[in-house]
Symmetry: C2
């Protein structure tokens, strides 16, 4: 059966009365679960005098499928059936007993959404220990689901905290990386290491040029290489070399 | 009362029998809530024949405080009391009725942790509609808490997805920022813009040097400036200039 791995479903159906009843209008809870591979069980209870239910066998589900006339595969029908039970529009229709204050009949009316096929599921009244068993089953399973979701919530909250911290740490790492390797001037990063290498190249080239100039001057002008004018001009040239932005 | 804003507490106490009983050992659920400013209500039920409870007034709580002999403020006692009820060690002790299959007495034994004061809360049997009201109350409140936690879980999951996406987007932004402005070579960023400026400075200096060399050579050696050897040497020098890594 395609319902085999179905997680239990809990809900509060909308209660509707057919006929006059002096019964107090109490809220109901419903519970859908799979006890074995051949059945799907639905229980509805107000925890007082009204506990109703049904064990749907595969042939009963096939009858419902034929009645609502839903085409497609068995799996598509199963999905539609479960979606309808999970829908907020799920109604519990109670028929008032004309001879007493009780309920003579109860049925669930499920519809995935307006305009879609309507599923009607007649329910059977559960009495005494069977009714108590249904109530106990519903509440204990609901408690287990509640515990499980509470654990998942704590895990998700921890995950959110981890992600927030990780995000802050990564941002810090990137800023540190850029601050360390680059200097941000006017929004542009200036790479310190690379700048220093290129600055050294410029300086070496200048030194080499100075030596080369001196040698040439020595060869061509003999003794005039250290004339005050030329020396001043060379000094100016050195002073005017570009100083990297981050050193200014 | 300090319990005023207390969220309802749900749990499954450990069941212990005193005396011989032929009663089936069923699981119990308990529910603690504050109906008004002057009471704290505890209900315990197996959803069958045993629903027990107590309405603790402020004076009853003060009696418990005196019995256990816990010092400190009222607020500290209230915290200890609630922590003990929330503890995994909460026990429901059922006393078997020697004349029937039922339970003659029931009490809760709460202790925050081993070695800490033990709180004993005697319970009163609830019957008929009062018992049903307690069961209904427990399950409907549990369902509301379950729904609320489910919503919180969905919100937390969405928050985790948002943070994961934000983290990826931020990482992409930083990588894009570094790729755009810097070139990562051997793990070091090379700033394109700054490199280009410095490269231009190097080239301009070389050009200036070439012109300067030519002029000097022209003055000093007259006609020899274009000798094939010197030209080849200059060409080699130009070819050997540093080409920025990102242009290679």
């Amino acid at each position: 059966m395609v319902f085999e791995n179905l997680e239990p479903i809990f809900g509060e159906p909308k209660v509707e009365w057919v006929g006059h009843s002096s019964c107090p209008l109490r809220p109901f809870l419903f519970h859908v679960y799979v006890p074995d591979s051949f059945h799907l069980v639905i229980h509805v209870t107000d925890f007082h005098s009204d506990t109703w239910g049904v064990h749907l066998s595969i042939s009963m589900l096939e009858d419902i499928r034929d009645i609502i006339g839903l085409g497609g595969s068995w799996s598509e029908f199963a999905d539609y059936f479960i979606d309808s039970l999970k829908s907020e529009n799920l109604k519990l229709v109670l028929e008032a007993n004309s001879n007493s204050d009780g309920v003579s009949n109860a049925k669930l009316i499920a519809q995935k959404s307006k305009g879609m096929p309507v599923i009607t599921i007649p329910l059977i009244k559960l009495l005494d220990s069977t009714a108590n068993e249904a109530m106990s089953n519903l509440s204990l399973r609901l408690f287990k689901e509640y515990q499980s979701i509470k654990c998942s919530l704590v895990e998700e909250q921890e995950q959110s905290i981890r992600l927030t911290n990780l995000r802050a740490a990564e941002k810090y790492t990137w800023i540190f990386f850029c601050r360390y390797h680059c200097q941000l001037i006017d929004g542009y990063p200036i790479c310190q290491e690379r700048n220093e290498i290129m600055q050294k190249q410029l300086e070496q080239r200048q030194k080499f040029q100075k030596i080369s100039d001196s040698e040439k001057a020595g060869v061509s002008t003999n003794g005039q290489q250290n004339s005050p004018d030329k020396q001043a001009a060379r000094d100016t040239k050195v002073k005017n070399r570009v100083v990297p932005t981050h050193r200014r």
